[in-house]
C-alpha cells in the first residue's frame, strides 16, 4: 500500500520518465558509437598484417626447369649442400660441381642465377627444399602464384591443374632466410632484400648521428641558453612550421641542395641529410619536453654549487632527461625508416643492386627498404606484388621491434619528480 503510494507520488510524471529513459539511451548510443572508430582502427591494422602475411606465403604452380627435383629439408644442412645436390641431379660430375662452386667468378655467376628456397610443402610433402634457377635453357617458370588463404581454399583445384599440366605445386614462404641474405634482382624468383637492408643501415646509422646531435643541441639552446627575444621566438615559429611541411617538399630540398648544388648525387649522404632535416622538428620537440621535465630545483642546486651553465647542462640536465630524448630519437628513426616520398627525389627508385660500402660509402648509390618496395610496384612483372608483401613484412617486423624498444625505454628509465 505504502509502496504503491510512493510510485504514484513520484517526482516525475510519466512523460518526464520517458524523456529520462530516452536521454539515457542516447548516452549509451554515443558511448558505443564512439567506440566504433577504435575498433575500426584496430581492424585495419589486423587487416594490413593479414593481407601482407597472406601475400608473402604463396602457392606456386611451377614449370620446373633445372633438375626438376625437390629435396627433403631434413637431409640438407646448408645451402652449399643443396647446390651440390641440385647440380648433381642436373647430371654434372663432381669435378664440374667443385669447379663451379669454388672458382670465385663462376660461383658468383651461379649464385646470381640459382637460389635455395625452403618450401613448406611441395606436391603434398611437408618441408622440402628446392633450388630455383634462371639459367638459360632450364629456367624455372612460375605459371601462377596464389596467396596463401586463396590457395588453401582452392587447393584441390590447384592440385588438379598441377596434375593435368604436369606442374609442381609448392607452398613457398617468400619471407625466408634467402630473401634476407640475397641481393636485389630484376627477376622475382631471385629477388632478395639484402641490398635494401644494408642501404637502410647506412642511411639510418648516419641519420642517427646527424639528427640527434643537431636536434639535442637545438633543444638545449632553446631551453637553457636562449633569452626570450626575436631570435628564439623566430626559432620556435620556424620549428612549428617545419613540422607541418609535407615530407615530399623535403625531398625537393634534398634534390636541389644536396643532390645538385652540393654535388652529392643520388648518394647515401644526400639521403641521410634530407631525412635528418625531415625528422629534426620531431626530435627537437621531444627533446625539449624531456629537458623541460627536469625540475628547476635541480638546476638551481647545480648553479648554487658554483657550476657553470655547461656543467649544469652536461652533468645534471642531460643525464636526467636522457630517457625522454632517446625515446624521441627512436620514434623519429622509426618514422624515417618508413619514409619513402623524399627519397624518391633524392635516391631515385631504380632497381639498384649495388651495396653501399667501402671508403666511398657516403657517395654510393643506395636503396632503402621502402624505396625497394616501391620499385617492386613500378615494375610491370606481376610476381613482384608478392615479393613486395614480403618486403613490407620485413619493414613492419623491424618497426615493431623499434616501437617495443621505445616503449621499454620509456617505461624503464622515465622518472617522475
Amino acid at each position: 500500500m505504502n509502496n504503491k503510494n510512493i510510485k504514484t507520488n513520484s517526482l516525475f510524471t510519466a512523460e518526464e520518465k520517458a524523456q529520462l529513459r530516452h536521454r539515457k539511451i542516447r548516452g549509451e548510443l554515443l558511448r558505443y558509437f564512439s567506440l566504433i572508430p577504435v575498433v575500426l582502427g584496430f581492424l585495419l591494422i589486423v587487416f594490413v598484417f593479414y593481407a601482407n602475411i597472406n601475400s608473402s606465403f604463396v602457392w606456386q604452380l611451377v614449370d620446373r626447369g633445372g633438375s626438376g627435383q625437390v629435396f627433403n629439408s631434413s637431409e640438407i644442412k646448408n645451402d652449399e649442400q643443396a647446390y651440390r645436390l641440385e647440380l648433381n641431379a642436373r647430371g654434372m660430375s663432381k669435378e664440374d660441381i667443385d669447379d663451379i662452386l669454388t672458382d670465385p667468378k663462376k660461383r658468383r655467376k651461379f649464385l646470381l642465377r640459382n637460389r635455395v628456397d625452403q618450401l613448406l610443402e611441395a606436391n603434398g610433402k611437408n618441408k622440402q627444399t628446392v633450388v630455383y634457377t634462371i639459367e638459360r635453357g632450364m629456367a624455372d617458370k612460375i605459371e601462377e602464384q596464389v596467396p596463401y588463404f586463396a590457395g588453401l581454399a582452392n587447393k584441390t583445384a590447384l592440385q588438379l591443374r598441377a596434375k593435368e599440366e604436369g606442374l609442381d605445386l609448392f607452398l613457398n614462404p617468400l619471407l625466408d632466410r634467402a630473401f634476407i641474405i640475397r641481393n636485389n634482382s630484376s627477376r622475382p624468383l631471385m629477388a632478395g632484400f639484402r641490398t635494401a637492408i644494408i642501404g637502410t643501415l647506412w642511411v639510418i646509422g648516419l641519420l642517427i648521428f646527424i639528427a640527434s646531435f643537431v636536434a639535442v643541441a637545438t633543444a638545449i639552446y632553446l631551453e637553457e641558453y636562449a633569452q626570450k627575444g626575436i631570435f628564439s621566438s623566430l626559432l620556435e615559429i620556424n620549428l612549428r612550421n617545419l613540422a607541418g611541411v609535407p615530407s615530399i617538399v623535403y625531398g625537393i630540398l634534398g634534390l636541389y641542395v644536396f643532390v645538385r648544388a652540393a654535388g652529392f648525387g643520388d648518394s647515401v649522404i644526400a639521403a641521410s641529410l634530407t631525412l635528418s632535416l625531415l625528422i629534426l622538428p620531431v626530435v627537437v620537440i621531444a627533446a625539449r619536453e624531456a629537458i623541460r621535465a627536469v625540475p628547476d630545483s635541480l638546476r638551481q642546486a647545480s648553479y648554487g654549487l658554483g657550476a657553470t651553465k655547461w656543467q649544469t647542462v652536461s652533468r645534471v640536465i642531460l643525464p636526467n632527461s636522457i630517457a625522454g630524448i632517446v625515446t624521441g630519437i627512436v620514434l623519429a628513426v622509426a618514422r624515417a625508416l618508413g619514409e619513402t616520398a623524399p627519397l624518391l627525389l633524392v635516391g631515385g627508385a631504380g632497381f639498384i643492386t649495388t651495396i653501399p660500402g667501402g671508403w666511398d660509402v657516403l657517395k654510393d648509390s643506395f636503396s632503402v627498404m621502402p624505396l625497394q618496395i616501391y620499385s617492386y610496384f613500378a615494375t610491370p612483372d606481376q610476381a613482384f606484388k608478392e615479393v613486395a608483401a614480403a618486403g613490407i613484412m620485413v619493414l613492419l617486423i623491424i618497426l615493431i621491434f623499434i616501437y617495443l624498444f621505445a616503449f621499454i625505454i620509456r617505461a624503464q628509465f622515465s622518472r617522475k619528480w
Binding site: L35, N241, I252, L253, L280, A334, F377
Partner: protein, 317 residues
C-alpha cells in the same frame, strides 16, 4: 710575520689560478654556446633552403616561353611531358581536393569519435589498450598503406562499386582517412582534456547525462583545438604522397568521380622525379612549381590552425 705573508701569497696564488680557471671555463662556455647556437640555426637554414630551392626553380619555370602564369592558374590540362605542353595546375588541385575530401569525410568523424571515447568514456584500463592502437596506426609507413589500398581495399570495393578503376581516389581516400585518424584523435584528446574539470562537474550537477556533458559542454569548449586538429589533418592529407601515388594513379584529369584514377600534386612530383627529364627542362622544373604550390597551401593551413587555437581558444582563468 713571514707566516702571514706566505699565507697571503698562497691565497693570491689560489685566487690567480681560480681566476685563470674561470677565464678558461668562460672561453669553453662561449665556444659551447656558439656550437649550440649554430646547431639551432640549422632549422632556420632548412626553411631558407626550402624557400630558396622552390622559388629559384619555380622562377625559372615561369620564365620559360612555353609557360604562362595565367595559364598555370586557368588552363584545364596538365601535360608537361607531352610534345604539346599544357601547364594548368587545376587537374592536380582537383585531384588533391577530391582525395583529401574523402579522407576528411571519413577521418574527421572517426578521429573525433575515438577522441571522445578515449577522453571521456574509456576506463583507464581500456585506454591503456586503445591508445597504443592509435599509435600503431600512426606508425604504419604510408608506402605500406599505399600497397594496402591498391591491393586489398580496391579489390573489395570493386565488389560493391561498379565501374571502379584499378587506381581510384576512393580507396586512396578511405585509407588516408585512417591515416589521419590518429592526428585528429590525439590533438582533439589534448583539447578535451584541457577543458576544466569544474565545467564538467557543473553540468553533471545540473543533471546532465554523460553524453550531454560531452556533446553540449566538452566538445563546444574544446572546439578551437578540435578545429585546429581538422585543419592539421587536412594539411597532412594534402601533403601525403605514397598512398595517392600507388592507389590513386597518375592521370591529371578534372573529375569529381571517386571511381576514376586521378593525379594529386604530390603524386605528380613523385612520378616526375623518376622520369628521365633533364634537370634544366621545363618538365623537370614543373616539379618545383607544383612543389611550391603544395608548400604554400600546407603552410597557410598550418598557420591558420595555430591562429584558430590562439584566437578562439577559451580562457577559463
Amino acid at each position: 710575520m713571514n707566516k702571514t705573508s706566505n699565507k697571503i701569497a698562497s691565497i693570491n696564488h689560489n685566487l690567480k689560478s681560480a681566476l685563470s680557471k674561470k677565464f678558461f671555463s668562460n672561453i669553453v662556455e662561449n665556444i659551447i654556446r656558439i656550437i649550440l647556437l649554430s646547431a639551432a640555426s640549422i632549422s632556420i637554414l632548412t626553411t631558407i633552403g626550402v624557400i630558396w630551392s622552390l622559388s629559384s626553380e619555380t622562377f625559372m619555370f615561369f620564365r620559360d616561353p612555353t609557360v604562362n602564369f595565367m595559364d598555370f592558374i586557368t588552363d584545364h590540362e596538365w601535360t608537361p611531358f607531352f610534345t604539346e605542353k599544357h601547364f594548368g595546375i587545376a587537374p592536380l588541385l582537383t585531384g588533391t581536393l577530391l582525395v583529401t575530401f574523402i579522407a576528411l569525410v571519413l577521418g574527421i568523424p572517426l578521429g573525433l569519435g575515438s577522441a571522445i571515447f578515449l577522453s571521456e568514456f574509456a576506463s583507464s584500463r581500456v585506454r591503456q589498450i586503445a591508445m597504443p592502437i592509435l599509435e600503431i596506426l600512426a606508425g604504419i609507413p604510408t608506402i605500406v598503406l599505399g600497397f594496402f589500398a591498391l591491393f586489398s581495399i580496391t579489390p573489395i570495393l570493386k565488389m560493391f562499386v561498379p565501374g571502379l578503376s584499378t587506381q581510384n581516389s576512393l580507396a586512396a581516400g578511405i585509407v588516408m582517412g585512417f591515416m589521419i585518424l590518429p592526428t585528429v584523435s590525439s590533438i582533439s584528446i589534448d583539447a578535451m582534456q584541457a577543458v576544466p574539470r569544474r565545467l564538467r562537474e557543473a553540468a553533471y550537477g545540473l543533471g546532465a547525462t554523460k553524453a550531454e556533458v560531452v556533446s553540449k559542454v566538452i566538445v563546444p569548449a574544446a572546439l578551437s583545438g578540435i578545429m585546429a586538429a581538422f585543419i592539421l589533418a587536412m594539411s597532412r592529407a594534402i601533403g601525403e604522397t605514397m598512398i595517392v601515388t600507388l592507389a590513386a594513379g597518375a592521370q591529371p584529369v578534372i573529375t569529381f568521380d571517386p571511381r576514376d584514377a586521378i593525379a594529386t600534386m604530390t603524386a605528380f612530383i613523385a612520378n616526375a622525379a623518376q622520369s628521365d627529364q633533364e634537370s634544366a627542362s621545363v618538365g623537370a622544373r614543373a616539379l618545383f612549381a607544383v612543389g611550391a604550390t603544395l608548400f604554400l597551401i600546407t603552410l597557410i593551413l598550418n598557420i591558420f590552425s595555430h591562429q584558430v587555437v590562439s584566437r578562439f581558444s577559451e580562457k577559463y582563468d
